[in-house]
């Protein structure tokens, strides 16, 4: 009979026991972390006490006293800081939502065009993507704003494009008319908003086009050929056969591009569009409430990212391959 030993033959010393060492390491790491956080908080406490401040959100109901150049939410300088920040948030949402829609449209068109049978069109899409992706977004934004939009002619010599009039006083959509030397009617976008949207859309669309291109490339060649032999036109093939299948690959890629666009909208501050970050910076300069303002910013951008992710995950469930 073999007798099963109840105790191991060799006693493993504790420092060779992976589980024990793991717990010890975690304990040391945790302790280090706690001490670091405690030190930072103690510093914060002392520095705030010296400045005579306490962490509160009470200042948010005080009158802001600064103007915001353009808001969707009715706002005046005597309104509270809270309302100013809300107006900034709504301005950010305005740019993000319209940017998402426009960039997706342009990106899909460019991505699909990169599969065109026409080599000239393919070449143009390639040049566009390579050109835009290798130039910093901020540089593109200041270029659009300072070099392009600020040098537009005055209202009486406005540039006319179909459904669009460009002048120094703003960009007018949907048929504005010249009345007493000023453009009126239609939908007016400020130059700041127009430049921000143009720059963001052109930049993001290049990345979206690459995502779309990857998605379309993932559809097997046989699908194109089968659709072609059924007599479908190229546009029909794309719309009815290829894109629905490509979407499964495209949607997850779009998610991260959308989040980038939302975060990049904060560059508005460089060209004077009053988005959330710009208003927050002014608020900080007036109140000195750095910690609170930063935590608020962090929270809002995180929630914005999570909302985009949640929406895209819902879309992903819709386009996913249904397997039984």
């Amino acid at each position: 009979m073999i007798k099963i030993l109840a105790t191991p033959l060799i006693q493993v010393p504790w420092w060779r026991n992976n589980r024990k060492v793991g717990w010890l390491l975690q304990a040391a790491f945790g302790l280090f972390l706690l001490i670091a956080i405690a030190l930072l908080l103690a510093n914060l406490e002392r520095n705030l006490a010296r400045a005579g401040m306490r962490l509160t959100l009470g200042w948010m109901s005080q009158p802001a006293g600064f103007d915001i150049a353009e808001t969707l939410l009715p706002y005046k300088a005597s309104d509270s800081y809270g309302r100013a920040l809300l107006a900034g948030l709504i301005n950010t949402l305005r740019v993000v939502i319209s940017g998402l829609i426009l960039a997706t449209g342009l990106g899909v068109v460019v991505g699909a065009a990169s599969f065109s049978a026409n080599p000239l069109l393919r070449g143009i899409t390639r040049i566009y993507v390579e050109l835009v992706r290798n130039i910093p977004l901020l540089l593109q934004l200041v270029f659009w704003y300072f070099a392009v939009f600020l040098s537009l002619p005055p209202a009486d010599q406005a540039l006319h494009l179909p459904g669009l009039q460009l002048a120094k006083s703003g960009i007018y959509l949907f048929g504005a008319r010249l009345i007493n030397g000023e453009l009126e009617g239609g939908l007016r976008l400020s130059l700041e908003l127009a430049a921000l949207l143009t720059g963001l859309v052109i930049y993001s669309a290049a990345f979206i086009a690459e995502v779309v291109r990857g998605g379309i490339a993932s559809v097997p060649k046989g699908q194109w050929e089968a659709a072609e032999s059924l007599g479908l036109q190229p546009i029909q093939i794309l719309r009815l056969v290829v894109l629905p299948q490509a979407l499964r690959v495209i949607v997850p890629g779009l998610n991260s591009q959308y989040i980038s666009l939302a975060k990049n909208s904060s560059l508005a501050v460089a060209i004077g569009y009053p988005d959330l970050y710009a208003v927050a910076e002014t608020t900080l300069n007036q109140t000195g409430r750095g910690i609170e303002v930063f935590l608020l910013l962090l929270l809002i951008y995180l929630v914005l990212n999570l909302l985009i992710s949640a929406a895209m995950n819902a879309v992903n469930r819709l386009v996913r391959l249904q397997e039984r």
Partner: protein, 389 residues
């Protein structure tokens, strides 16, 4: 999608509709090209670049100390020449470097001439390019084999020496970080941030896959919080909040604070790239290494990480390019990187309204740098690619 082979003529002018489309596109291109050219040679005033070439390159670096930058450039050029020659001698060096050499000559001779650098500076640059090309030519031979073993160390020492040359102190007159600017500043901050962020990124990625629960949670929290916030809000922390969190409100120079923020920011993104590489390495590698008797640190450092970093190389290269582009955000918090110094030049009433000229020049500069980084990263991928079959 690969299409059936058609002649170019058929592809462009296959049908009536296609012909019309091609012609319309062509007309559009000609119109746009004509517009740009007639602006560039007509109403554009390039004087703003000539007059501010030095400012854009070195910012407000004191004139009397300029020789230090030249010395650094000379050292970097010689090292680059020797390294280039060594790399070229390797049998699977994938770059066609005649073109690269030509580009060097053009950018170091033609560009300074166009920008009207002083005659002495132009001569210096020509001399440096000659030095680069000669060293490249000579250094394929045996004597540079010794260098081959030590070049990481030599580059490292040169880098630290370069930092000292730029910043001064220890015998040299100190130049404050607020006086650094322009191209030198952008290159310095980008390289410094990358060097610091890569080890942090690897640590964060390893921590995120660690079996230790607490370590994993902390790493996930750090990575996701940083990736969730726009860079500008993080720079805002660096500029405004560091003083609140440090003892007695002490805060280092704004440049160092911004570098710190950029480092943490880049580390979070690099960590995700490295994690992708780590995930692609089969468990068998780790198990095999452990059963050979390697410790867990050896397994990671000698077996898993080298393979993972190779897989992650395209993503890492992409992050380097992003980082170079992200340094432009420093101009928003009032530092004088390339874009920041350009904005301060444009704020000068003498150069009112010369936005298009300056920004287009910067765009060309950034485009070339990013494209060069992309090419370099692709060449490195090719060189490191292992064929297992």
């Amino acid at each position: 999608m690969k299409r059936s082979p058609l002649t170019l003529q058929r592809q462009l002018f296959g049908s009536l509709a296609n012909s019309a489309f091609t012609l319309a596109l062509f007309a559009l291109l000609v119109w746009a090209g004509w517009g740009v050219l007639s602006w560039a040679f007509g109403s554009a005033q390039w004087l703003v670049l000539r007059a501010n070439a030095a400012t854009l390159t070195i910012g407000r670096y004191p004139d009397a100390q300029e020789w230090r930058l030249w010395l650094l450039l000379g050292m970097l050029t010689s090292l680059a020449g020797v390294s280039w020659g060594r790399l070229r001698g390797l049998n699977n060096w994938p770059l066609n470097d005649r073109i690269a050499a030509l580009l060097f000559v053009i950018s170091a001779v033609l560009l300074p001439w166009l920008l009207a650098f002083g005659a002495i500076n132009q001569l210096r640059l020509i001399f440096l390019v000659l030095l680069l090309l000669l060293l490249r030519q000579w250094s394929g031979g045996a004597w540079s084999k010794a260098f081959g073993k030590w070049w990481a160390l030599v580059w490292g020492i040169t880098y630290v020496f370069g930092l000292w040359l730029i910043a001064g102190g220890l015998g040299l007159p100190a130049v404050r970080p607020s006086d650094w600017g322009g191209l030198v500043f952008t290159l310095l901050i980008t390289s410094l941030t990358l060097l610091l962020a890569l080890p942090f990124g690897v640590l964060l990625a390893l921590g995120r896959r660690s079996g230790l629960l607490l370590v994993r949670w902390v790493c996930v929290a750090v990575i996701e919080l940083i990736r969730g916030a726009p860079l500008i809000t993080l720079l805002f922390v660096g500029q405004n909040l560091v003083g609140f969190l440090s003892p007695n409100g002490f805060a280092p120079d704004r440049v160092w604070r911004a570098t710190g923020v950029l480092t943490v920011f880049a580390a979070a993104y690099l960590a995700e790239a490295v994690r992708g590489g780590l995930n692609s390495i089969p468990m068998g590698q780790q198990e095999a290494a452990r059963s050979l008797g390697l410790s867990s640190v050896q397994t990671m450092g000698l077996v898993v990480l080298p393979q993972a970093l190779k897989v992650a190389l395209p993503a890492l290269g992409g992050q380097c390019i992003s980082l170079l582009q992200d340094t432009t955000l420093l101009s928003i918090v009032g530092l004088f990187d390339l874009l920041g110094i350009a904005r301060s030049v444009l704020a000068n009433p003498d150069w009112l309204g010369r936005y298009a000229e300056v920004y287009l020049f910067l765009a060309v500069l950034y485009w070339c740098s990013c494209a060069a980084l992309a090419l370099g990263s692709r060449a490195l991928e090719k060189r490191l690619a292992t064929n297992y079959s």
